[in-house]
């Protein structure tokens, strides 16, 4: 009942660099985001490969040889793991971004996610075919 202003709202600051340790769901989100480092690094590596190819056969052979080093193999395995994780997490949320309504009902999320996995498999197969693996 005072005439003077008694309000003094208190603002709790969000810790800028440690907020994601607060909840498991934030950790999962950060893990998904961190995958981009490996995917980015792998993309760079591919670009280097293309550059080496343009520089001539010897350079390209040397590049391929370097890829066979244990460090490179470990990196590739890591990059593969992270990109699969990234892909899976994105595919799993595609029903949110791309809902499909047929008549009154929405397609179950599993169908949309499944379609993405199927597309992924088909594309991968096509790439492998073109690469002459089979």
């Amino acid at each position: 009942m005072g005439e003077k202003m008694s309000r003094k709202p208190y603002v709790r600051e969000v810790p800028k660099y440690s907020w994601f340790f607060r909840r498991p769901r934030y950790m999962r989100y950060m893990a998904r985001e961190v995958t981009c480092i490996f995917i980015g690094a792998y993309t760079l590596l591919l670009l280097v490969g293309v550059m080496r190819l343009s520089q001539g056969q010897a350079e390209y052979e040397a590049f391929l040889a370097a890829l066979r080093s244990p460090v490179s193999v470990v990196f590739h395995l890591l990059a593969l793991g992270f990109s699969v994780y990234n892909t899976a997490t994105w595919f799993n949320v595609t029903p949110k971004a791309l809902p499909v309504q047929i008549g009154e009902e929405f397609l179950p999320g599993g169908v949309i996610t499944g379609a993405h996995y199927l597309g992924w498999a088909v594309l991968s197969l096509a790439v492998l075919l073109m690469a002459g693996v089979f």
Binding site: P9, Y10, V14, Y29, K96, A97, P99, E104
Partner: protein, 247 residues
């Protein structure tokens, strides 16, 4: 019916006496089938009448009693004591200034909600005397889930983006804009895009998805925001790559 004693640790803050919030422990006897809100009410009635919090309906439709319960944004009226073990920690909703105790200042949300024009802007005006607009059950279902938002703001408390970047319009406001954009009777999307297809709008969202996980009404704001992003991207391409195509 059986009662037992529960321990609640409640964040207290009184602007007239405190420089910062502190926890206060209460031991309170409650029925085992009660919710956290019932426990708070019993504390207020029998232990500490100075404890302040908002509540009304006790059935998860009025959206008043959003709080952090053991660190998770929850409606106190839908948080059952039986689901907790040990001390239950109750705090005001995260990311909002604390007015007092469990009462937060929600002006920011109210302003943002209004900014997105959350009302029908009819595609075709028609007088009431001509009756209702026809809308098929399928057209209704397209946006119905987004109408279920009770403005409880749990999604804002869950969203780390909003916590870090307060100018972000946030999940509930954008979802409501999307709700009207998806309504077959509405023609106001262009007006709303000016607010929501911006850096402070959907493009601040990095799809953590926490909003949908905590929504007590299963509204799925994350889906609304991703759909707005996709539609805005399509708009951009149409505008810049195919300027001859009308939106």
């Amino acid at each position: 019916m059986s009662e037992r004693v529960y321990q609640l640790e409640v964040l207290r803050y009184h602007p007239e006496t405190d420089s910062e919030p502190h926890f206060q422990r209460y031991s309170v006897s409650c029925e085992e089938e009660w919710v956290v809100l019932d426990a708070l009410n019993r504390i207020k009635e029998t232990i500490d009448p100075t404890l302040s919090y908002r509540w009304s309906c006790h059935m998860a439709v009025c959206g008043s009693c959003g709080m952090m319960i053991n660190g998770e944004p929850m409606l106190a009226c839908k948080s059952f004591l039986r689901d907790y073990q040990g001390v239950i920690r109750v705090e005001p909703l995260a990311h909002f200034p604390i007015e007092r105790d469990l009462v937060t200042v929600i002006d920011d949300f109210m302003d943002k909600f209004k900014r997105v024009k959350p009302y029908l802007i009819p595609k075709h005006e028609k007088p009431v005397s001509e009756g209702e607009y026809l809308q098929s059950p399928a057209q209704l279902k397209k946006f119905k889930q987004y109408t279920m938002c009770i403005n409880c703001m749990l999604c804002y408390a869950a969203c780390p983006e909003y916590g870090l970047i307060p100018k972000f319009l946030g999940p509930a406001a954008i979802s409501m804009a999307h709700r009207y954009n998806q309504d077959s009777r509405d023609g106001g999307r262009d007006e709303r895009q000016e607010e929501i297809a911006t850096t402070e709008g959907v493009w601040e969202c990095s799809f953590v998805g926490a909003c949908s996980e905590v929504c007590p009404e299963h509204v799925d704001p994350a889906s609304a925001l991703q759909q707005v992003k996709i539609k805005s991207t399509v708009d951009w391409y149409k505008e810049h790559l195919m300027p001859w195509v009308k939106k």
